[in-house]
């Protein structure tokens, strides 16, 4: 008994010390945002009535962001950029908080409700930015940046709404097919230009399969890859992303050929046995691993990974090709690319300063430093392509500049993407449904969405320009 009390006493002392230690953390810290000594108006939705900041006033900006996870080196670059900016503006202090993948959105949602949180927030493109704009959490970048700067950003289409630009494009993330040159060479395929059309692609797959090599690697167990397959194969059937917006509000049906035919392509790949047999049992990551290990010839990849992959498989063995074309829409043959970005929050008391820092991120020196740190393209046409050493990456950058295509996943409600595409692809590849039923599922899901989100439907209409 005495020992229990003794150990409890020890715990109590530890607790007391811990409480004492935690007290300084409750005190206002200059880097905390928002500082607790700020006016109690933080809880009110009205903007804080601070006048235009005097030159010498100490200002703190907070950035909540994501991206180190897909573009390693981003954090180093950001810290470098912040340091340089702070040198130029000694009265401004910038704090950045890297979010976890799963926490990015919940954290922001909580902040948005309370109208308290970061000055700058990270957003993927399209609906991922605009939904928060519609909810009133963002202010348009175009209110703070001159047109001369805006026109240099790549992929602004994703953030345009109601004539304004609602976020800043930061870096690019595009999709192409990556292939293992050695394996393709084994079956006598031209390793510089293996295919352009869908039929040529199927021929290559068949050759590989006949030689006992798995043509395509993939993993759909966690769902995400399903979304990729959809947007990469479907966009070619459309003339523009507007058609997708139109379908979401009901002007087209997802069972129309324009939207249903891609499922047939997927079914083709399944029926001919071109996927790794355990595609439904692997996560996206594990599908990747399969290809990296050389156990499959090709993979639908993302160019933010390519630097790392080239290290793993060897640059001489690494090839890229644009997505094979089957569709007849105007978008066919382009290079799907999206820009990940940043936005200024509506409750930030320092919007102009935030916009200014964002502008600093796009100075040529910073753009080139970004590429050096991460090997990922910045979303700015002032980026100096001579920096690109790898011929493959140079080819990709050329594709981007020639004909950038929208990433459809950014132009449809996320519920459609997840409940129709993830689910449909999983069921189809597991052999449980066929193309027709998958298209039917998509139509059902979008109808459910429409029934519960009349406001979003209105926004989509406006987004479409009606």
């Amino acid at each position: 008994m005495k020992s229990i009390r003794k150990s409890l006493a020890v715990w109590a002392v530890i607790a007391l010390l811990a409480v004492l230690a935690s007290l300084p953390a409750c005190a206002p810290q200059p880097t905390q945002a928002p500082p607790p000594t700020e006016a109690p108006a933080t809880a009110a939705p009205a903007p804080t009535p601070t006048p235009a900041p005097a030159k010498e006033e100490q200002i703190t900006l907070t950035i909540w962001w994501w991206g180190e996870q897909e573009a390693p080196g981003a954090q180093a670059w950001l810290e470098e950029t912040i340091a340089e900016y702070q040198k130029l503006h000694p009265n401004i202090k910038i704090q950045h908080v890297l979010q976890t993948t799963d926490g990015l959105i919940p954290a922001f949602k909580a902040a948005a409700e309370a109208k308290q949180g970061p000055d700058i927030q990270y957003f993927w493109g399209g609906v991922w930015t605009l939904e928060d704009a519609w909810a009133g959490s963002l202010v348009p970048l175009s209110d703070y940046w001159p047109e001369s700067e805006i026109k240099h950003l790549i992929s602004n289409e994703e953030r345009m709404y109601d004539g304004k630009l609602w976020g800043m494009a930061w870096y690019l993330s595009g999709n192409s097919i990556a292939y293992n040159k050695a394996l393709l060479a084994k079956v006598g395929v031209d390793t510089e230009k293996p295919f352009t059309t869908w039929d040529e692609f199927l021929t290559v797959c068949q050759k590989l399969k006949d030689a006992g090599i798995t043509p395509l690697a993939g993993g759909v167990k966690d769902g995400w890859f399903g979304g990729w397959l959809w947007q990469l194969l479907e966009h070619q059937a459309l003339d523009s992303a507007d058609e997708l917006k139109a379908a979401s509000i009901g002007e087209y049906k997802f069972t129309d050929p324009k939207f249903a035919d891609w499922w047939k392509r997927l079914q083709e790949l399944r029926d001919k046995g071109y996927w790794n047999p355990d595609i439904t049992s692997l996560d996206y990551q594990q599908g990747q691993d399969l290809w990296v290990q050389g156990q499959a010839a090709m993979i639908f990849g993302n160019d933010t990974f390519y630097k790392g992959w080239m290290d793993l498989v060897g640059e001489e063995n690494f090839g890229v090709a644009k997505i094979p074309v089957w569709g007849k829409g105007k978008l066919a043959g382009g290079y799907v690319v999206t820009a990940q970005g940043l936005g200024i929050t509506s409750w930030s008391p320092h919007k102009q300063e935030a916009a200014d820092f964002l502008l600093f991120m796009h100075t040529p020196d910073r753009l080139n430093a970004w590429y050096k740190h991460t090997g990922v393209f910045p979303a700015d046409d002032r980026f100096d392509p001579n920096q690109i050493t790898s011929p493959i990456m140079r080819q990709i950058f050329q594709w981007i500049v020639e004909k950038p295509n929208p990433n459809l996943e950014n132009f449809a409600p996320s519920m459609l993407d997840e409940q129709a595409n993830f689910v449909g692809v999983q069921r189809l590849l597991a052999g449980e449904i066929d193309a027709e039923q998958a298209a039917q599922l998509s139509e059902e899901v979008i109808q459910k969405w429409r029934s519960q989100n009349p406001d979003a439907v209105e926004h989509f209409k406006k987004w479409l320009g009606k």
């Binding site: 008994m1 005495k2 020992s3 229990i4 009390r5 150990s7 409890l8 715990w11 109590a12 530890i14 607790a15 811990a18 409480v19 230690a21 935690s22 953390a25 409750c26 810290q29 880097t31 905390q32 607790p36 933080t42 809880a43 909540w64 180190e68 996870q69 897909e70 704090q95 950045h96 908080v97 890297l98 979010q99 976890t100 993948t101 799963d102 926490g103 919940p106 954290a107 949602k109 909580a110 902040a111 409700e113 309370a114 308290q116 949180g117 966690d222 995400w224 996206y284 990551q285 990747q288 691993d289 990296v292 290990q293 993302n302 990974f305 793993l312």
Partner: protein, 293 residues
């Protein structure tokens, strides 16, 4: 206090051989079941530890085998240049304070619920149980609003308060359950010795429910230590990040370096396991001391 085996030991001389054989078979069976259970229980830990010493390449090639060479690179990658010490400190503070607070509050409440009668007792009891069903994920946004109102965002206090609140129902329920099983005569004896209710709580209830109490502490500590979402949303300052948040930041949907993650998780798991192993001694002692009265 030794606990004897429960197979009957009475036997005549003739039967003793057969009984001994049966007893031996029984014990062997127990042993076998235990060994299988232990293997089943331990292999993921084996996986976690072994993987943490492999390179990414080695890992992709062979998921389960032992690495050719033990490499500490993953540990370095997981922690070098990161505020590991800070994260560790934050997690420790949160865990220690929350668990102590909830143990105290739940313990006191459980005592009343278990041994006293008062208006609202059943109501409180049922309310307590019902609250366990509320999924924390829905409480996120309203709680954040509340913390903003209380000006506690980005302080330890906000997370501690929430953790204590979330652990209360379960802890109260468990302790009430155990307090009820303590025989009344022991309590009566204490009364006769002039003990106050608080004294009984401190001197009788706690020690006698030693095993349960320490299990509760370990379970709660584990929960707070591993908790992710609340720590993320309410402690947005880099200086306040917890260990789990710091470690899982690098888990992306498309890119996961498993060996490095495992290295991080090994380090994150060690304190809890250590706590458990350490507390075992205490509750054995408490058991032997307390029950014999």
């Amino acid at each position: 206090m030794a606990v004897k085996s429960q197979v009957g030991e009475r036997a005549t001389a003739g039967e003793s051989v057969r009984l001994k054989a049966r007893r031996w078979a029984w014990l062997a069976f127990c042993e076998l079941v235990m060994i299988i259970s232990a293997v089943v229980a331990l292999f993921p830990i084996y996986f976690m530890v072994v993987t943490s010493f492999k390179t990414q390449k080695e890992y992709i090639a062979d998921r389960w085998g032992l690495p050719a060479r033990i490499t500490f690179d993953n540990y370095v990658a997981a922690f070098a240049g990161k505020a590991f010490g800070q994260w560790f400190l934050n997690s420790t503070i949160l865990t220690v304070v929350s668990v102590l607070l909830v143990s105290l509050c739940a313990g006191l409440a459980a005592y009343a619920l278990a041994r006293m009668d008062f208006i609202g007792r059943r109501l409180l009891g049922n309310l307590n149980i019902s609250l366990m069903i509320v999924p924390p994920v829905v409480m996120l946004v309203p709680l954040f609003l509340l913390m903003v109102e209380l000006k506690l965002v980005n302080t330890y206090a906000s997370a501690i308060l929430i953790y204590v609140g979330l652990m209360m129902p379960f802890s109260t329920y468990l302790l009430t359950n155990f307090f009820k099983t303590i025989p009344q005569d022991i309590v009566d004896a204490a009364y006769m010795d002039g003990c106050s209710n608080l004294g009984i709580f401190w001197r009788i209830m706690l020690p006698l429910s030693g095993p349960a109490f320490f299990t509760l502490i370990v379970v709660n500590a584990m929960w707070v230590w591993n908790e992710l979402l609340i720590a993320l949303v309410f402690l947005q300052d880099n200086a306040l990040k917890t260990l789990m948040v710091g470690l899982t930041v690098f888990k992306s949907r498309y890119n996961l370096n498993i060996p490095v993650t495992m290295a991080g998780l090994v380090v994150a798991t060690v304190p809890i396991v250590a706590l458990y192993l350490a507390s075992q001694k205490s509750f054995i002692r408490g058991l032997t001391a307390g029950a014999v009265k």
